[in-house]
């Protein structure tokens, strides 16, 4: 039964071999004319303005972390909203407590200045 797969195997090997062979052949025998502009990374035809490996401000991470906290809040709020009537008073009180705790956190980061960019 496995014999039926031999053509597939041959095809795979031939395909890989051709591709690899082309790359290797062009690397070896292809003409190389290197000049400065050609060696630069291509960026929409515009010459690069700065090193892409620059460091990001830590503020981005701060914003991302704060976003997660309030995103989680939304994750909990949606299912609660969907079964709001069934949960009744119990659900309302629980959710208010949950939001209150988050509000303390919000008040803290706000007053601490974590929401200001500069």
């Amino acid at each position: 039964m496995l014999n039926q797969y031999i053509p597939v195997l041959v095809m795979t090997l031939a395909a890989c071999g051709t591709a690899a062979g082309m790359i290797i052949a062009t690397t070896i025998i292809g003409p190389k004319r290197e000049f400065e502009e050609k060696m630069e990374p291509f960026e929409c035809g515009v010459s690069p303005v700065s090193d892409p490996k620059s460091r990001f401000g830590v503020r981005f991470y701060l914003v991302a972390m704060l976003f997660i906290v309030f995103d989680i809040e939304a994750v909990f709020l949606f299912p609660w909203a969907a079964v709001f009537r069934e949960l009744g008073m119990f659900g309302l009180v629980e959710m208010l407590v949950f939001i209150l705790v988050l509000t303390v956190g919000l008040a803290y980061v706000w007053k601490k200045g974590a929401l200001e960019w500069e």
Binding site: V83, E86, L87, F90, G91, V101, V104, A107, Y108, K111, K112
Partner: protein, 483 residues
């Protein structure tokens, strides 16, 4: 569709709620009142701890709540009081330290309280998910606290190292929980116990899960060979934080280990006490031998705290109610004596922790005879010399292990205690028997009110639990009755 609300017993989590309230209040006070209110921070935290202790010590009917995820029993109560004791003493020795180092922020105290909440959840966990929740709450607070003195490079290193390795260990822990869930179909400890003893389980999967869980917990309790992070983190962290980390969190992990291994997986046909025995022997020996060669007092206490976790695990290896209650007693005694000793170290170390070497204790007894005497009592207790509490604690641990037939383990433990005596006595030698070569130009050391209070509590514990242990031993023994 009618949704039945889960059973929620808010009284059972009273101490946690009080601490949450106090920590939130601290954060708000910290940002809304700013500079002029800084001196209030430790006292708000202390008030929270005292209120929580009052709430925790009220009588209770043992039960589980939050749908079997939270056990409100005497075991939980014992540990809650132990954690609150540790946190209270840490706050007391932090007051002057944080003022000197200018880290008297509300966040410092709030994080201490959040860490305490995590520990409480761990002790009360009757479900592996609660265990995980508690460990994460504790660990995240400790990662930040370890690096709290931001201007000191070693402190930053401690925080980063702890965070990276801690995150890795959490992976092990979670994988272990997943495998246990995979083989038993439950995360609830009682249900796992039932499944293990009745079901036709995939034992291989369960064993691997339990081992991974042991690795994760072993990391958090700093058991050898999962201890590599401990010396650097304990040395780099601010001294009060080191004191805090070495007592409460270890007790919390041991509480989880007792609950998981003695309650849940105990019925497994694999003998898990062998693992604990190996860990205990390694932990004691490596901790003690490494402590032997340290010239830095803080680092020495860090290594010795590793070995103390090893002694406590001897009691676990006994796998008996007696052994477990000895572990509880041991951790209580350790909390009393260790935080006191770190408190004195914090005083001797002076500003910016410049002087934490053993030789900085030289001549301490001539300048501060009272403090040196207290330090001597505390290190004698840590070494396990009667009539101090450290001796009684070790005695009960060894006794329970002998009764369980673990003679070799006890032999190793006794030999290790002998090594311990050597390096603990070096404190006494430096303080009493060596003279300062050059007359010191440093200002004289004066104990602050907070330190004195902490030392009084420490001394009370060390002497009371050593001379009249019956009552507290009974307290620890009862804690295991309502398992």
């Amino acid at each position: 569709m009618v949704i039945v609300p889960p059973s929620i017993d808010l009284a059972a989590v009273g101490p946690e709620l009080i601490l949450t309230g106090a920590a939130s209040l601290l954060l708000l006070v910290g940002v809304f009142l700013k500079e002029q209110s800084r001196f209030l921070n430790p006292w708000i935290a202390l008030l929270g701890v005292i209120l929580a202790a009052g709430c925790a010590s009220s009588s209770l009917f043992p039960h589980t709540t939050f749908q079997g995820m939270y056990a409100a029993d005497l075991f939980t109560r014992f540990f809650k009081l132990l954690f609150l004791l540790g946190t209270g003493m840490t706050i007391l020795i932090s007051i002057k330290y944080t003022a000197d180092e200018q880290i008297e922020h509300a966040e410092y105290y709030a994080l201490l309280l959040f860490a305490t909440i995590g520990m409480m959840l761990m002790a009360a966990a009757s479900d592996l998910v609660t265990v995980f929740l508690g460990i994460e709450t504790l660990s995240l607070s400790l990662y930040v606290l370890a690096g709290y003195t931001r201007t000191r490079l070693v402190s930053n290193e401690a925080s980063l190292k702890y965070f990276l390795l801690g995150g890795f260990a959490t992976g092990f822990l979670l994988y272990g929980i997943a495998l246990i869930y995979g083989s038993t179909g439950h995360t609830n400890l009682a249900k796992i116990a039932y499944a293990v003893s009745h079901g036709n389980l995939n034992t291989g999967l369960l064993t691997i899960g339990a081992l991974l869980l042991l690795v994760g917990l072993g990391f958090k309790v700093a058991a050898v060979p999962f201890h590599q992070w401990t010396p650097d983190v304990y040395q780099g962290a601010p001294i009060p934080v080191t004191a805090f980390m070495s007592a409460g969190p270890k007790a919390a992990v041991l509480a989880v280990m007792i609950r998981v291994f003695e309650q849940s997986i105990a019925f497994m046909n694999v003998d898990w006490t062998v693992w604990i025995t190996i860990l205990a022997i390694l932990t004691m020996t490596v901790g003690n031998i490494a402590a032997l060669v340290q010239s830095d007092a803080k680092r020495m206490l860090a290594f010795s705290s590793i070995s103390h976790a090893g002694y406590a695990m001897v009691g676990m290896a006994a796998a008996s109610r007696e052994g477990s209650s000895a572990v509880l007693y041991y951790m209580l005694v350790y909390t009393f004596m260790n935080i006191g000793a770190f408190g004195i170290l914090a005083l001797v170390a002076r500003q910016n922790e410049q002087r934490t070497a053993m030789r900085d204790f030289t001549g301490f007894a001539y300048k501060n005879p009272a403090l040196a005497f207290i330090m001597t009592i505390l290190v004698f207790s840590l070494a396990g010399i009667p009539p101090m509490a450290g001796f009684m604690a070790k005695f009960y641990i060894f006794m329970s292990a002998i009764k369980a037939g673990q003679n070799f383990l006890v032999l190793a433990a006794v030999l290790n205690s002998a090594i311990g005596i050597y390096y603990y006595l070096r404190f006494a030698i430096y303080m009493y028997m060596k003279e300062d070569e050059a007359p010191s130009t440093l200002p004289p050391l004066r104990a602050s009110l907070g330190l004195i209070l902490a030392l009084v509590i420490s001394l009370y514990g060390v002497i009371r639990l050593g001379v009249l242990p019956a009552e507290y031993l009974d307290f620890a023994g009862k804690a295991l009755l309502t398992f």
